[in-house]
Symmetry: C2
Subunit: 347 residues, 2 copies
């Protein structure tokens, strides 16, 4: 079957991938849609560095994950939605033809593998893939697969908001309106946080920020979002979401964020970064780094999309076939043109 894989630092299309066969506890799905994530672009360019940093890092529980070998093909695509084709033997799984999604991990006899960057089995940039039956969630309300595929990035935003400590009636500044920043805005709006001040260089992204629920948007070349906040936020409790993830951005947020506030770092900066600790100390700032989401947050995001509480349709700016994945990775470098590109293998 066909799949787009990372090979020698480039996305490459293969037509010779073995058909996956579901074992016990597994479900075979036809991938209907899979979003391209900013992390995937990062991984293509900085995968080796990411893994080196990860290897140096201590203090994490050993979940038995096998890190990907970059000298071999790496399967990718972790924002997927698929239709059940078959269920493994002795497995209590969803009925064939059910539309499902799942957190992008696979529970196996030897531990937990991810369905994001792996040599072991096809992920979402493939015609078909395996899921753990116990992790599948049925897509409700006739929600189309193209929208259900946005569950994963929306869960990232929800998790960041849950870690922010914000409550309804508090306010927020969101720095960066890529897919992650927009997911944060949607989750903030749903929680009742207002005002939400969002900043991005791109007019298209600022428009999307308004669509997702931002009350004020600003081009940081014109005015700091914190200057806007000081006008519209009053004395409300607030948090800042750093959703850009380029070197220097965290230090700038530390410099201008209100005293005693929390900064949620949801943008993944892969490079070393310089900060001025005195900004943090002088204002007693709290920096909460976040990653991913838990299964409950993933399910809550699917529910919010299916109930119409979050409309993800405006975020989808293109749909491409598997053969166009390499080109789509190039297109996503231009923030003005695209937000979320979906891979739709049937195209």
């Amino acid at each position: 079957m066909r799949a787009a894989v990372l090979r020698q630092g480039q996305m490459t299309v293969r037509d010779d991938v073995d058909e996956p066969v579901p074992g016990q506890g597994e479900v075979l799905v036809q991938v209907e849609a899979c979003g391209i994530c900013g992390s995937d672009l990062h991984f293509v360019h900085h995968g080796a560095a990411m893994m080196e940093v990860g290897a140096r890092m201590e203090g994490t529980p050993d979940l038995g994950r096998t890190p990907p070998d970059l000298s071999r093909d790496v399967f990718m695509g972790h924002e997927f939605c698929g239709r059940v084709l078959d269920v493994g033997p002795l497995t209590d799984g969803p009925a064939p033809d059910t539309l499902v999604t799942s957190v992008p991990i696979m529970v196996t006899a030897t531990g937990i593998d991810d369905l994001a960057y792996t040599n072991l089995r096809p992920c979402g940039y493939s015609e078909r893939m395996l899921l753990s039956a116990m992790l599948t969630l049925e897509v409700p309300n006739g929600l189309p697969a193209t929208h259900a595929a946005l569950t994963e990035p929306m869960a990232v935003g929800l998790h960041a908001v849950n870690r922010s400590g914000l409550h309804a009636g508090d306010g927020a500044v969101v720095v960066g309106c890529g897919p992650v920043g927009l997911a944060v805005i949607a989750a903030l709006r749903l929680l009742g946080v207002a005002p939400i001040v969002a900043s991005d260089f791109s007019p298209a992204r600022r428009n999307l920020a308004v669509t997702m629920g931002a009350d004020e948007v600003v081009d940081p070349r014109d005015e700091s979002p914190f200057a806007v906040w000081s006008r519209v936020g009053g004395s409300r409790s607030m948090a800042t979401f750093e959703a850009v993830g380029v070197p220097g951005m965290l230090d700038e947020v530390l410099r201008v964020a209100p005293a005693q506030s929390r900064i949620v770092v949801v943008g993944v900066c892969m490079q070393p970064d310089a900060i001025t600790p005195f900004y943090g100390i002088g204002k007693e700032l709290n920096v909460q780094f976040v990653l991913g989401y838990d299964p409950t947050e993933f399910a809550a995001s699917l529910h919010s999309i299916a109930e119409g509480d979050i409309d993800v349709a405006p975020l989808i700016t293109a749909q491409v076939g598997i053969g166009d994945v390499p080109r789509a990775f190039e297109l996503l470098a231009d923030p003005e043109e695209h937000c979320k590109i979906l891979v739709v293998p049937s195209r």
Copy 2:
């Protein structure tokens, strides 16, 4: 009168400082003891840089403080205890001869000034100084002034522990056993946090750490305190206190701290510092920068010392007169020799 002041980047002793005269709301005290703080050493060497960084920083409330002018003499000494000599007119203050301490700020008609780095009025490295009557706390239980002068650094430790979110039964790693790290250990012990794992290069400081309540001490050249923690901490909730404040230390703590834990930055690193955000992201770490204490924490620390719950005597490694302040600043560069040096103006 006599006072040690910062002049042109050096501590200098003057004998020609005007006698302070208490105005309304003010109390004149004879300084009995004043600790030399690590921040004071920082300020002598990096004062201009600190003030530049402070001037760039936004998001702080304007309290009307006048920043010190480094081209003029700067009065210093903010860990003081003194005996009341006189009370200003129309002022409800403590009776003459009462031993008092105070948070090192001065409430004036125009706002709040600090009693730490100021051109405006003598601080603790002086024979006599003024305090705000409303902020004075009577030293109870016959506690000597030399011990009461440790209220301020102990309050720094208490505040850091209060911001850590730790409860009795949780554990902690304390990186760095200078006066701040030792104050943190004392506050942790009083809260019922255990085990407390502390690290420092200096054997003398590790001994003091045990005296103040550390359960395990380690030379980081021999073993990481986090390796010790993983042996003795079990699955307890924990926090890390970074009480060193030199470049590179925060990044190392981010690299090795347990996933999902909080790092309290209580060491003041004045230089820009490089971090690897991916360590924070991959482990969802929380970094809480802290500064100072509130008046309640200051009063609680005085109470703990006066009740004998915290014995500060072992921390005092020398007492010097005002004339020896310049030499004492040099001595404090050697952590093996000294912990807290007290300036006792009567010597």
